[in-house]
């Protein structure tokens, strides 16, 4: 941290201004740009799974419809609402940083983490149901009602577990990022001049929300009316 103290003196700027940036605004923009470039790779990372989903759904359409009928639409819907609520608290965490409301900022981060944990808890209940109903691909896979489609329906559940699993993994990483932001927010490190980590963490969290916005209709709702 000695480098920061050094640049602080040299530029007469904010102590958080890194020496290779000219202003806090430039530093903030570079941070957001870097995060967006990372999200580009994330979009293509998840994009590969969405391509695989689209292809197999086209090839095994009837099996995908039959398989998706075993999804718990209520829990999936609640989880969608939970994530939208968490996106609101994340957006408000940026607002409270910008307006220097330190206590409110800490609360937003705490509520975001609680909503993230609630999402993972509900997801765990769903996974437990899938195990009990023999919907995990493998030797014990069963598709009551359409046993002749069981082989192809396994592909739906392979993609389901990969897509929601990768999404849940991102939620776990997001919780780690928010734990780190919370510790720094408790120390009152953020404010109107310096909130780039809150903004960048928020970009990540919102991205994970967007992935779920597409997963919910594609994995839960396709077979509702056929």
């Amino acid at each position: 941290m000695s480098a920061e103290a050094h640049t602080g003196k040299e530029h007469h700027g904010h102590p958080r201004l890194q020496h290779h940036f000219e202003s806090m605004a430039q530093q903030h923009e570079a941070s957001s740009l870097g995060m967006w470039l990372f999200l580009t790779t994330e979009i293509l990372f998840f994009g590969g799974l969405f391509v695989a989903y689209t292809l197999y759904r086209w090839l095994y359409y009837d099996a995908f419809i039959a398989a998706s009928e075993h999804q718990n639409i209520l829990l999936g819907g609640i989880n969608t609402a939970v994530l939208i609520c968490s996106s609101l608290t994340v957006a408000m965490s940026v607002y409270f940083s910008q307006t220097n409301r330190q206590r409110a900022l800490v609360w937003m981060l705490v509520i975001t983490m609680m909503l993230g944990l609630a999402f993972l808890g509900i997801k765990a209940v769903e996974y437990h149901e899938h195990f009990e109903h023999h919907l995990v691909p493998g030797d014990h896979f069963q598709l009551p009602g359409a046993p002749h489609l069981a082989a192809q329906a396994q592909m739906f559940y392979v993609l389901y577990f990969f897509m929601t699993g990768l999404h849940a993994f991102h939620m776990v990483i997001g919780l780690g990022i928010y734990a780190w932001l919370l510790i720094r927010a408790v120390k009152k490190e953020f404010g109107p001049e310096y909130y780039s980590p809150i903004e960048a963490g928020g970009l990540y969290w919102h991205f994970v929300d967007i992935v779920w916005i597409f997963l919910f209709p594609l994995l839960y709702l396709i077979g509702r009316h056929q």
Binding site: S32, W36, L55, L88, V94, Q98, T99, F207, I210
Partner: protein
């Protein structure tokens, strides 16, 4: 030199103003309400008998929700052109991934002559 310095300071000030664009909470709550309402609509549409239109409608609703999150929650609406280029570029590449993959798979049964 003095003029250049002044111009530079002005640039820093406008840059600073952009950084400190404070999105009013009313906008955040409005977007939140829209996202919740669109979630309800997408569930309702799934139960309605719309034939082959079901999936396209569900994807259009999901895209509107994603656009709201990107423009307002992720502040892209008030971001620099450089960030716009990266955001739009991301989806262009996603489009390339889909178009090239499916131009292969969907044309495999086609033979000339």
């Amino acid at each position: 030199m003095e003029r250049r310095h002044q111009k530079h300071n002005q640039e820093l000030e406008t840059e600073s103003a952009r950084m400190h664009h404070v999105t009013p909470p009313a906008i955040y709550f409005g977007v939140f309400a829209a996202l919740m309402a669109l979630t309800a609509v997408t569930v309702a549409v799934a139960y309605a008998d719309l034939g082959w239109l079901s999936t396209p409608i569900a994807l259009v609703i999901a895209s509107i929700k994603a656009a709201l999150v990107i423009l307002y929650f992720m502040h892209v609406r008030w971001s620099t052109h450089l960030i716009w280029v990266v955001v739009i570029g991301s989806f262009v590449w996603l489009g390339v991934l889909f178009v090239l993959t499916f131009s292969d798979y969907l044309s495999r049964g086609i033979t000339l002559a």
